[in-house]
């Protein structure tokens, strides 16, 4: 077994038998990577905070990619007889725009926040399976790059983001775009599934003492619900993607109408996944603003248990509404009625949440900082999108709206006005926590208002366009058939296109703000608790050290941090601050924990994740390469399973100051 003996050098070289290492400790092909400050540390890290930042940066990169795709679409439609894109490119553009935004931006950006803040909010030192966490990130990155590499290898997928059969068969889409799409999503799906298992176990099992489920911050609650949705929804899309891959690569007959196949099979499988997916995208943002609104209203969240439970209810009912995406497909009256009613029912818990946010603000001391502005905008914009959504629940009305721009308007209001605004609220709220500097409020307000105006200019007119009958995915309009008067296509398409560029400038200002905040000498280091926050993640340094907390706090209340800072006067029912954040932290850290031993860095997650696209390229181009990829998967899994998640002490480089040696955490090969 020479291959798995540890080399004697520092660098990753295979071979060379060590001396004096007992067999039970000589595990793994490589020497374990040591802590360092170079970029290499980011490659081998298993720290949930670093992975959270990597998720965030990667997702934002894909946000820009998807945004450029959107701008190209709007540029095509800004004038009659648009010539920016040809029909084929246009198909690829809207397919990849939606795929990128859904799978490579909103979901991983929510994962970024979940990774960074869930362990902090529940008072944990890391997630339950740190290496699996790293593996998830690399799967997402390589899956996303694999998916987008199709642009350079014959064109992207062109079947619309829900890739309806039989349009997705090789007959109608002979390029490899859809093959890249199915395999790429398969790889990012692995990221979501492992992430889901990881975060659920973390929330269930790694809470600080006293942190009961009903004392968890609401963001953690919403992440928990989201991860359960992912856990059960991802396998469904996995099945659908496999069926499509087998059809395209091995001539299976699943969606071949000539063989008697039912194309509705795809639609069902896709939407059984796809509808929970909608809540997967929105619930984390709901969680973020449920943190932000109480902080900037100086009031506790109104009806905390109801907000938590309505989130769980949304998650549950979300499984029974998938066919409302298929009202126009001839399901039959019984199915349509059932799904129509379920869809109306799901509006109730969502409405409950909106009431709770409004009631939280009611009578509060509101401060209109940028995170609060984004949060309030979410409440307003999501309500508009939700109301147009309820009009789709009415099946007869939906059959008129299906595949028109009205639908496009609806889901952009809930996704951009909802999910994305929530994420931006999170950026501004948590930036000082992650990077020690507060993003500029002045630039932030420009960022906010341009995005708000831009989004309403872009997506508002689409309601009108849709009701006027402009079909979704329409690539060109002509002056002659645009109609006349206020409701003509030309005018509103131009408005929407101009709006999209306003929106683009708004997003760009966010990047400007980030650069300004970190380059300008004028921006001071943020205080420990800049917003007077309420939850545990603020009860440690900015940014937190690798082990998060010097002392794991014992939790006695919901909003623990608030309760340590403030006291209620029983006679007057007034609340007054008795401790500053610094005092609370000093008191907490007066007896720091001993023997903190963090999980060790590892090469295996990135290596295993790298082997997956090899299989993907192999399936498309060369079956031999596929075998190579499979062999790599097998080998890296062996290496992973033989490496303890925490290296024994003699194997570990000198611990950072404040970290004791002594004890190790132990995980089985799964970790």
């Amino acid at each position: 077994m020479t291959i798995i003996d540890r080399p004697s050098t520092d660098v990753a070289v295979i071979g060379g038998a060590p001396t004096g290492v007992k067999p039970s400790e000589a595990l793994g092909v490589f020497k374990r990577p040591a802590a360092s400050t170079s970029w290499r540390d980011w490659v081998v890290t298993v720290d949930h905070k670093k992975l959270g930042i990597m998720y965030g940066v990667t997702a934002f990169f894909f946000f820009i990619v998807g945004g450029v795709e959107a701008l190209l679409i709007r540029l095509q439609l800004i004038s009659p007889d648009g010539k920016v894109l040809n029909a084929d490119q246009y198909n690829q553009m809207f397919t990849m725009h939606a795929t990128t935004m859904v799978f490579l931006f909103v979901m991983p950006m929510a994962a970024a926040f979940a990774n960074y803040f869930v362990p902090l909010q529940i008072g944990a030192r890391d997630v339950a399976f740190p290496r699996l966490n790293a593996f998830g990130f690399w799967c997402f990155l390589f899956g996303g790059l694999f998916l987008n590499s199709s642009w350079f290898l014959g064109g992207g997928a062109d079947g619309g983001w829900f890739m309806y059969a039989p349009n997705s068969s090789t007959l109608f889409s002979p390029s490899h775009g859809i093959d890249f799409w199915t395999l790429g999503l398969q790889i990012t799906g692995i990221a979501s599934l492992t992430g889901a298992i990881n975060l659920i176990v973390t929330v269930l099992n790694m809470r600080a003492p006293g942190m009961k489920m009903m004392r968890m911050p609401i963001f953690t609650w919403m992440v928990l619900v989201t991860q359960f949705l992912l856990l059960f929804a991802i396998p469904v899309i996995t099945v659908a993607l496999f069926l499509l891959t087998f059809q395209r690569s091995f001539d299976a007959t699943f969606f071949d109408v000539a063989s008697g196949a039912d194309p509705l099979l795809w639609q069902h499988l896709f939407w059984i996944f796809g509808h929970p997916e909608v809540y997967i995208m929105i619930l984390p943002s709901f969680g973020i603003i449920s943190e932000v609104i109480p902080v900037f209203s100086k009031k506790p969240l109104f009806g905390y248990p109801i907000v938590a439970m309505s989130g769980a209810a949304i998650g549950f009912v979300g499984w029974g509404v998938w066919a409302h995406h298929m009202f126009a497909s001839g399901l039959g009256p019984v199915s349509v009625t059932v799904f129509s009613m379920a869809t109306m029912a799901i509006a109730v818990p969502t409405g409950v949440k909106i009431v709770n946010w409004v009631m939280t603000m009611w009578g509060g001391k509101l401060s209109f900082t940028v995170p609060m502005l984004f949060a309030i905008a979410l409440v307003v914009q999501f309500t508009i999108g939700g109301l147009s959504g309820v009009t789709h629940a009415v099946a007869p009305s939906d059959t008129q709206q299906t595949d028109t721009y009205y639908i496009v308007a609806h889901f952009h209001y809930v996704l951009f006005g909802g999910a994305v605004f929530g994420l931006f609220s999170g950026f501004y709220y948590w930036w000082p926590k992650m990077f020690r500097r507060q993003l500029s409020e002045g630039l932030g307000k420009w960022n906010f208002w341009l995005m708000l105006i831009g989004m309403n200019l872009t997506f508002g007119p689409m309601h009108i366009l849709g009701l006027q009958g402009q079909p979704r995915r329409m690539m060109v309009w002509t002056e002659a058939r645009a109609g006349e008067g206020l409701f003509n296509f030309g005018f509103w398409n131009r408005v929407a296109s101009i709006g999209s560029f306003v929106l683009g400038i708004g997003v760009l200002l966010f990047l400007v703000n980030v650069i300004y905040t970190h380059k300008s000498k004028k921006v001071a280091i943020s205080p420990l608790d800049p917003w007077d926050a309420r939850t545990l993640e603020w009860m440690t340094h900015n940014p937190p050290q690798e082990h998060n907390f010097d002392t794991i706090p014992t939790v006695g209340h919901l909003d623990e941090f608030f309760h340590r800072k403030y006291e209620t006067d029983a006679s007057t029912h007034s609340v007054k601050q008795v401790h500053s954040a610094e005092e609370v932290m000093a008191e907490l850290n007066s007896h720091p924990d001993e023997h903190i031993h963090m999980p060790s860095r590892s090469y295996w997650p990135i290596l295993l994740a790298l082997s997956l696209p090899v299989i993907g390229y192999g399936l498309i181009y060369n079956r031999m390469l596929m075998a190579v990829g499979a062999a790599l998967v097998l080998l890296t899994m062996f290496g992973w399973s033989m490496e303890p998640s925490t290296s024994p002490d003699e194997d570990f480089d000198p611990p950072a100051p404040g970290e004791g040696g002594g004890h190790t955490k132990e995980l089985s090969p799964l970790g």
């Binding site: 176990v201 396998p235 069926l243 699943f254």
Partner: protein
């Protein structure tokens, strides 16, 4: 898990200090199996929808060899017994029996997969290819996915035996055996469903 020698308050691998008192790994495994239900559910539903749609080639009841499949189903069922015996040996720290039962389990699993390969080739000779009909595509996909799961299980069992011989299993060995056992039993119960819904209930 009982109290361990670990004194600090935050140990990940063991349940003793976790919020629920349960092991992370076992929670993760059960969740994974819950998730797998949705995967096999989708494949089984696809088969149920398509099993009667035969435009070309043989019908299901024309080619199924129930006595043969019954024997291989029985073998897989018995591999669950040997697996559970391996788990209970591992918990007793009875290493010899543990290795023995793990090997027997892997052999029984391999017999099952061998039977499946034989079945597939004989079906193919009788005219049922992967692309012949909707029945063919969905049948091979469903049973193929199951076969791949069994094969992965066999690889894990053999790896476990090999790694155990070289003392290369990090962590709690009994728990590792238990986790692989859970996976193995899950693959078995999926076959219990497939055997009934696919083979015994004709179209």
């Amino acid at each position: 898990m009982a109290e361990t020698a670990i004194s600090h308050g935050h140990d990940v691998g063991h349940g003793a200090h976790s919020s629920t008192g349960l092991s992370n790994n076992k929670l993760g495994m059960w969740m994974f199996l819950g998730s797998e239900c949705l995967l096999f559910g989708g494949l089984i539903s696809t088969y149920m929808l398509y099993k009667g749609r035969v435009n070309a080639g043989p019908q299901p009841d024309q080619i199924f060899d129930i006595p043969f499949t019954s024997v291989s189903s029985f073998i897989l069922l018995m591999s669950s017994l040997t697996m559970v015996l391996a788990v209970s040996s591992a918990q007793r720290k009875d290493e010899r029996n543990m290795n023995l039962w793990l090997v027997v389990t892997a052999l029984l699993g391999a017999t099952f997969v061998g039977g499946q390969v034989y079945e597939f080739t004989s079906f193919y000779r009788e005219g049922l290819g992967f692309t012949t009909s909707l029945f063919g595509s969905s049948f091979y996909t469903l049973t193929g996915f199951h076969g791949v799961h069994v094969s992965v299980g066999i690889i894990m069992l053999m790896a476990l035996v090999g790694m155990n011989r070289n003392k290369r299993i990090p962590g709690d060995r009994a728990e590792v055996v238990e986790l692989i056992g859970l996976y193995w039993h899950f693959v078995d119960i999926v076959w219990i469903i497939i055997f009934t819904l696919v083979y015994l209930i004709p179209s």
